[in-house]
Symmetry: C2
């Protein structure tokens, strides 16, 4: 086992992502000691039972005392409040980061803390599943996935490099970008897909002329993939949409505009327009597979037992 | 091996579905002999190389001669023309069926044939992957999937029972319904999901402010699942939308209406509305899994090696 990147990591919030970071940090030896806090006492107890941490603390301030890495893994809507509450308790020289899906609001919250002696670097591992809670996490979640860091010009480069080394040890690849650009990229690759998935599942459930039993039985024609995404954590996703409003509404407006074009092409029998789009989208799929972000197995391999 | 359900099956069109039916029929012993035809000579040759059939014929009429089961597995846009061309060559007493995703147009085409001595029963196996062509097929594709048959009042019940026995032998479950109702159900569970997936991949590709490389790298946040569906066969799907126009446009209008509601909820910070929908959709996911149409594994198990 090589030298730990940080001596003590405090994880605030022990859901899917927080618990996966704890597991991966333990497995990889990226940190010496792990302390956790969760607002829910039952989750704190469960985290200890699962062996995710060396200690669980009853207060966030207790958890961050003496930690040289503090990782906020709460829903993005409360990251600002948590950062504010923790500000006086952070160790001088500590690195503060998070795993939230929106980065501009986190960058603003970190700036408001006025702790020039803390390396506050917003972060976002682009990884996850539709499951929630400490039992859903696993150490391999970040393997070959991208983590986006959004350092400010004030951050010392050594601090950014150290946090990069931490995530690399967990199996991830790291890219730095501006928080506003992050929010636009993720609006396209994550937030809009989730909104669309939630919406189509809702539309299907509300049909008067098709029963829910029929929707479920005949879902293998495409619908079932959307239900997976639409099973994601409701609180987390409510917060995402409310905290990346500008980019989400912009991308959504484009999506609806394009959809009206397709609708018109169907109505007026413009088969060539449909065929052109449907051919172009195949190349993107190839690119996603080539980028190592997807398995090339047909249908995720689920029909071939 | 139990007795074959049909003595000789002719498969017209040897893509993903046609070749999977041939494989499954062979494996299960559901038919005695298999004859194939495909409009593309290279596909006919490949079908023989793959051992999918006992014979390949150079004309559709040659393929159906002497067959007591004729299965049309072409894109749905040409099923009508193929049925018309084949009408004089079908054996008296033969069963004619298809695997197209739209059933009202097929029911009309079969009715136009005026062959009262042929059991013409439109069918649709709700199964598939994003891959195309004879190499993409596999015998297990129909295991535990639903096949919808849309018999007319003129069909003899013995003929429907025999076709049901055939699909059951291939591992599928069979349900009968009216062709118009089929088209509405599938508009919800298959056609709209594909349209949405194609559209979002197009929208993402057309962003000027986000590069295609970024879209691919950060696709693990949800987008990549849509690229899978949007990699489906362009010709097949163009035909589906043009041949189920009424139901697709109706369901699409509802979807857009619901999306505008969500858009407004985001703009006006109505978090409760978002949370309510996002909680409701989780139950549908549970239903899809309980209906045996999906694996409960998180993220299709693809991150956990």
């Amino acid at each position: 086992m090589s030298t730990p990147v940080y001596q003590r990591m405090a994880v605030i919030g022990c859901g899917l992502i927080g618990s996966s970071v704890a597991r991966a940090a333990r497995t990889s030896g990226a940190v010496g000691e792990i302390v956790v806090y969760d607002a829910d006492p039952a989750v704190r107890a469960r985290a200890l039972e699962l062996g995710l941490a060396d200690r669980a603390e009853d207060t966030p301030a207790g958890a961050v005392a003496g930690a040289d890495l503090v990782l906020l893994a709460t829903p993005v809507g409360v990251i600002g409040a948590v950062a504010e509450a923790l500000a006086p308790s952070l160790e001088p020289g500590a690195t503060l980061t998070d795993v939230g899906s929106c980065k501009a609001v986190v960058a603003e919250a970190f700036a408001r803390m006025q702790r020039a002696d803390v390396h506050a670097i917003p972060g976002h591992p682009v990884a996850g599943t539709e499951k929630s809670g400490p039992d859903a996490g696993f150490a391999e979640l970040f393997q070959n996935r991208w983590v986006i860091l959004c350092p400010s010009p004030k951050n010392a480069s050594e601090a950014v490099e150290r946090l990069t080394a931490f995530w690399t040890r967990l199996g991830a690849r790291v890219e730095c970008m501006d928080a506003t650009h992050h929010d636009l990229v993720l609006a396209v690759t994550s937030h809009l897909p989730h909104l669309i998935a939630y919406n189509i599942v809702g539309t299907a459930a509300d049909m008067e002329t098709v029963t829910q039993a029929e929707v479920m039985k005949f879902s293998a024609g495409g619908f079932r993939d959307f239900t997976r995404i639409a099973a994601s954590d409701p609180t987390m996703w409510r917060d995402v949409f409310l905290n990346n409003k500008g980019a989400v509404l912009e991308v959504l407006a484009r999506f609806i505009e394009d959809l009206h074009m397709l609708s018109r092409a169907i109505r007026w029998d413009e088969g060539d327009k449909l065929h052109d789009l449907f051919s172009r989208t195949r190349d993107i799929r190839r690119g996603v597979i080539d980028a190592g972000q997807e398995t090339p197995e047909p249908n995720f391999g689920r029909d071939r037992k």
